[in-house]
Symmetry: C2
Subunit: 155 residues, 2 copies
DNA sequence: GGTCTGAGTTGGAATTTCCAACTTAAGGCG
DNA sequence: CGCCTTAAGTTGGAAATTCCAACTCAGACC
């Protein structure tokens, strides 16, 4: 686990989530899974991740309910394992999109955009936005974080 | 740097961004800064981060343009340093909100919500949403990642 | 001169990651 | 059968990162 928690179960949602996806390589494995990759050798070769670390990360992602391990068999080969995003894993496209969007705005690559996010139904480009009850976009400077009901001393 | 890049400058925006905020503690320092914390001792005491690591992280966040180092002086004390979010640092509320929102949905805390995100103008609760040209929310399953103009072999 | 305080530094132990080489379990072929 | 191939791991040891506790440093104040 990336963060030792003083209590058994951290209340802060940022810590809770980073405990699951905050280790090195975890989020990149999910990103590649979002691109449709499912196999050990794909992750290892495309990311350049050491295979022992990949083994460990796949195990923690599976036990966190982000990936699902399945058996597959190609014609003339023995049964092997593949890894597929669960609904929770799919949901991480929110986090990955936020990272891409922040990077494009504040740390753009001199090579241009490496990936774009679109609506699968019509290929419209998509953006992440804060929306409230009014359904209109909220500018970044008006977004405020407040302690919620579960916050005691800390958030 | 958390990820050794094969080329000098990674094209993938996820890797580029994780190079800046992907090390342990980095994002939690930014989160606490979003809560208004500015001082070394606040970060150290609230997060429980080792002080040598905090020194290193503050330096990389400053050189990445996420924090700005300023001098401050309290009555009857000597001048000391404090750390303030830049516009880019403020912009990371996008990433942190995405993490909180994913956690609330897929890995909720048994204690309830530790923090809520609201519109500072009217305290309306806010949500992150994918929006397209139509300005209407796009369901998660229709969000698709495509290679952009700068992608060559890889994204 | 001695003490206090916030912001660090320092040395060494513990943990995590990296790397290259090796293993394992079928399947196919002769 | 024995040998080769392949995806998916394991293993042992080196390198890098993180952790911890103790220490330093610079001014303010007594």
């Amino acid at each position: 686990m990336p963060f030792k928690s003083l209590v058994e179960e951290p209340r802060c949602q940022v810590v809770r989530t980073l405990d699951v996806i905050g280790e090195k390589w975890s989020l990149l494995i999910v990103r590649n899974a979002l691109r449709g990759q499912t196999r050990f050798s794909q992750f290892r070769d495309q990311l350049g991740i050491p295979s022992d670390i990949l083994t460990a990360r796949l195990a923690t992602l599976v036990s966190a309910g982000i990936l699902e391990k399945r058996a597959y068999r190609e014609a003339g080969s023995r049964e092997r394992s593949s890894y597929h995003l669960t609904e929770a894993g799919q949901g991480l496209n929110l986090v990955i999109a936020a990272i891409i969007q922040w990077g494009n705005e504040f740390n753009p690559s001199p090579f241009g955009l490496a990936s774009v996010i679109v609506d699968a139904r019509n290929d419209d480009p998509l953006e992440l936005e804060f929306v409230g009850a009014s359904r209109s976009g909220v500018p970044a400077e008006d977004v405020k974080f407040l302690p919620g009901p579960a916050s005691v001393v800390q958030w």
